[in-house]
């Protein structure tokens, strides 16, 4: 075992002035970009790539690691303070984080978000450091049926988000799944629901839809309701949870870390799916599950831990195999390849120094979240003092820029604004918007994994007969029954009463 000496050497390398400076700057950019509604941190990484061209491979990787780790956390700042997720992965943070803000507990909510993100990220960094090669081999045993089963689990968790009223949530989810089919399908290259509009050929980007629904929609709704975004009497201080409070969350954090690490290896899933599944599972497991959505600590801690726990797990296949599973890791791999470094097993032999410096970078970047997250969150709390007219215009401007930046295409801005208006009407009629976004994100994944599984194994039974996908499917079904159990019991009682009454 030469992991420890390698890691120490990596740490030494990391703390060289330029290397550390790049990690620091990257983390700062990541947290700020992540926290800005509309600007996804992946945009920041893509914009950072050309700069990486002028750095050494190690500095470039640390710079991008900083943006990645910082960005995936940063989104939660605006989730908690504004009810607008700054980055996709931070969507679940709005469900219990924002209610805490409304109760005047924003300091505590931010503290939990910061601490849990950091812990989740560190668990996943440790996984990467000590188990990267075996974990990568394990990840390789996952084929399309396993990916489909995990996506199915993600779709099922939508039920846990539907607070009581199942029908509107399902309506919203299925509408999202239909929107997800828009575009030229990749299997037979047939245009679906494009109405001859070329812009729709390349499908609706979920990031664009999400910016529209949450940033634009939130502003529209708030304006028309004469409400104010955020809470005016904000506590400007962020209150990190005490050790005792953390200890109370130990189960939540452990589950969140585990789930995040597992979901992280699924290509295309990323922080959001990890966070949503962690939220759904926590809601079932936690004794306070029925209170989720009203500002419960566990409801914030679980997804926050999970989304940062996906970072290391998503990076393992990229570094060890040269297989990037997400947009963020694809950009990191591009940076390496631009510098003539090919990731893969050989890198662990020939580029040990680079690999272990990056490992050290992940560990330290998650610590930096705590150090830098506090002042940046405080800065954002100050923004809440800005007059609403200015704040709202700022959010709309950022949303437009963010939507444009996804593909540098003006059509995406119109699509974003369309979703903003749609989300406004959905809110007016009490139809939840989150299931629709989930449908838009998970729909294409589910379709692709399902069809490729069938192409490969010919039968839909494969999802149950392959051991790993079977276990995940069983979990999803148990989850479904578990969450529907009260409704089923209720139905049974009603029927029995009817029969009893008749007799």
């Amino acid at each position: 075992m030469d992991i420890i000496p390698n890691l120490i050497a990596g740490m030494g390398n990391l703390f060289q002035v330029t290397n550390f400076a790049f990690l620091l700057v990257g983390s700062f950019i990541g947290i700020v970009a992540g926290a800005m509604p509309g600007i996804a941190f992946v945009n920041a990484m893509a914009l950072g790539l050309p700069f990486a061209y002028f750095m050494t491979p190690v500095s470039a990787m640390l710079f991008l690691t900083g943006i990645y780790v910082g960005g995936i956390f940063g989104g939660s700042i605006s989730s908690v303070l504004l009810n607008i997720p700054g980055s996709p992965g931070s969507l679940p943070a709005t469900w219990d984080g924002y209610p805490m803000t409304k109760q005047g507990r924003s300091a505590k909510a931010l503290g939990i978000a910061i601490t849990c993100s950091a812990i989740g990220g560190m668990v996943s960094a440790l996984l990467m450091i000590f188990f990267a090669p075996p974990f990568a081999q394990f990840a390789l045993t996952f084929d399309q049926p396993e990916f489909f089963a995990a996506t199915f689990l993600g779709l099922v968790t939508v039920i846990s988000i539907a607070k009581g009223n199942m029908l509107p949530a399902l309506l919203s989810l299925f509408a999202g799944l239909i929107i997800a089919t828009i575009g030229i399908d990749y299997f037979y290259a047939m245009p679906r629901l494009t109405f001859g509009w070329e812009v729709l050929d390349s499908r609706v980007s979920f990031v664009v839809a999400m910016i529209g629904m949450f940033a634009v929609g939130e502003v529209l709704f708030t304006l028309t309701q004469h409400l104010k975004i955020g809470h005016r009497n904000l506590d400007r201080h962020t209150q990190l949870p005490s050790l005792k409070e953390l200890w109370k969350l130990k189960g939540t954090i452990a589950r969140g870390s585990g789930l995040g690490c597992m979901i992280g290896v699924i290509p295309g899933a990323g922080g959001l799916v990890g966070a949503i599944i962690a939220y759904g599972v926590e809601k079932q497991v936690s004794p306070r599950g029925d209170k989720f959505g009203t500002g419960v600590e566990e409801g914030l801690a679980a997804p926050e831990t999970a989304k940062n726990a996906t970072t290391g797990a998503a990076t393992i296949p990229m570094l060890t195999l040269g297989i990037p599973g997400s947009a963020a890791t694809a950009i990191m791999m591009a940076a390496l390849m631009l510098k003539g470094v090919n990731p893969g097993p050989i890198l662990f032999v020939s580029g040990k120094e680079l690999v272990y410096t990056v490992f050290a970078g992940y560990l330290v970047a998650n610590l930096l979240i705590v150090v830098m997250g506090l002042p940046i969150a405080r800065g954002f709390s100050l923004i809440m003092k800005v007059p609403p007219a200015i704040l709202y215009s700022m959010i709309i401007v950022l949303a437009v820029i963010g939507a444009f930046a996804v593909r540098n295409n003006i059509a995406d801005v119109y699509i974003c604004l369309f979703f903003g208006v749609l989300s406004y009407f959905m809110k007016r009629f009490n139809i939840p918007t989150t299931p629709m976004v989930l449908g838009i994100i998970l729909g294409p994944l589910a379709e692709r994994f399902y069809l490729t599984s069938l192409a490969s194994y010919d039968t839909a039974l494969i999802f149950f007969t392959r051991p790993k996908s079977g276990v995940i499917m069983a979990l999803a079904i148990a989850f479904l029954l578990w969450s529907l159990w009260p409704s089923i019991m209720q139905l049974g009682r009603t029927i029995r009463n009817r029969i009893g009454g008749a007799a």
């Binding site: 390349s202 947009a327 192409a455």
Partner: protein, 327 residues
């Protein structure tokens, strides 16, 4: 009265200003091209082959042209969003961008509204063969054994390919099927998933360009068994050619640089000469060697001929194999 005087006065100033600016633009037109930064658009996202191509070229073109050449990405519609952005930009030569074989092939499936006639070609700098790869420890020693196995077990051997219906890989498989060799195609949309498939033992064989999977070849995780080309691949000379087995279909991938159709001829000439020098520079040689894509650079006429010819071939095969094309 004073208002009228004011209007008159301002009109005068505006007129002088206009005259000056016309004069300025006239002299600017006569000035040397280029005299301000040039945008170079990659038609795929950061990290992809087209992006690497454009980012490798940008500093070399900057050096040749003496102005900054700024790369950016416009993605979507199988690379046609980027092509559209370049071809419909102001035809002043300050916007250029990449086009790839896959974008051209996707025209047949209804992507993009522009065709080769709607753009100007500046040059072509990368050509790559496709190959079939098996896991390094595969029980099949060579392509001959694989062919025998496929003939004996039609539709059983799993082959990972890109998820482009009617794309070059799909057409190649359909061609082989007409010769009595029927694989079981498994389309993987994301390259990452496609590469993981043979590594994880989920498929038996994979269709891919060597430059994209170089790290796996070097790490002895996969090995090439055949190259779809009538010539040996210079980077993998030991790999047998598809023509050795009596087949004559080979669709190569390439990357070229385009600009808007109406860019003045003298500016196109300046751009193509600079591009030619960039393509033959040692820096670009290093880049294309690393990605196993080096080729003799083509001038604008040859580039157009190459691309139109490729499109014609794709169209012919699509018709032959009953792929509905949406022209």
């Amino acid at each position: 009265m004073s208002t009228t005087a004011y209007i008159r006065k301002t009109t005068g100033i505006v007129a002088i200003g206009l005259a000056l600016s016309v004069a300025a633009s006239g002299s600017w037109a006569a000035e040397k091209f280029p005299n301000r930064p040039i945008d170079i658009i990659a038609n795929y996202g950061p990290g992809g082959g087209a992006d690497q191509f454009v980012r490798a070229l940008a500093p070399l073109l900057s050096r040749e042209l003496g102005v900054k050449v700024q790369p950016s990405n416009v993605t979507g519609a199988q690379g046609n969003a980027g092509v559209h952005a370049v071809a419909t930009a102001k035809p002043d030569g300050y916007t250029i961008g990449s086009i790839t074989a896959f974008s051209v092939a996707s025209w047949l499936q209804g992507y993009g509204k522009l065709r080769a006639k709607d753009m100007s070609f500046i040059g072509l700098g990368q050509v790559t063969d496709s190959m079939l790869f098996v896991p390094y420890k595969s029980k099949f020693k060579n392509f001959k054994e694989i062919l025998a196995h496929v003939k004996a077990n039609p539709g059983k051997m799993k082959l990972a390919l890109g998820a482009s219906f009617g794309g070059p890989d799909d057409l190649t498989l359909k061609y082989l099927a007409t010769k009595g060799y029927k694989w079981k195609p498994i389309p993987y949309e994301l390259p990452a998933e496609r590469y993981a498939a043979p590594l994880g033992g989920h498929v038996d064989i994979m269709y891919e360009e060597p430059g994209d999977v170089r790290q796996f070849i070097d790490a002895k995780q996969i090995r090439p068994v055949v190259v779809f080309s009538p010539e040996k691949n210079p980077y993998y000379p030991d790999v047998p050619k598809i023509t050795d087995f009596g087949f004559d279909m080979y669709l190569k991938n390439y990357r070229a640089i385009i600009t808007a159709k109406d860019v003045p001829a003298d500016r196109q000439k300046i751009l193509s000469e600079a591009l030619g020098r960039a393509f033959t520079s040692p820096e670009f040689k290093k880049f294309c060697d690393r990605t196993a894509t080096c080729t003799a650079p083509r001038n604008p006429q040859d580039t157009r001929a190459f691309i139109e010819n490729y499109y014609g071939t794709m169209k012919k095969y699509s018709k032959q194999f009953g792929i509905p094309t949406k022209e």
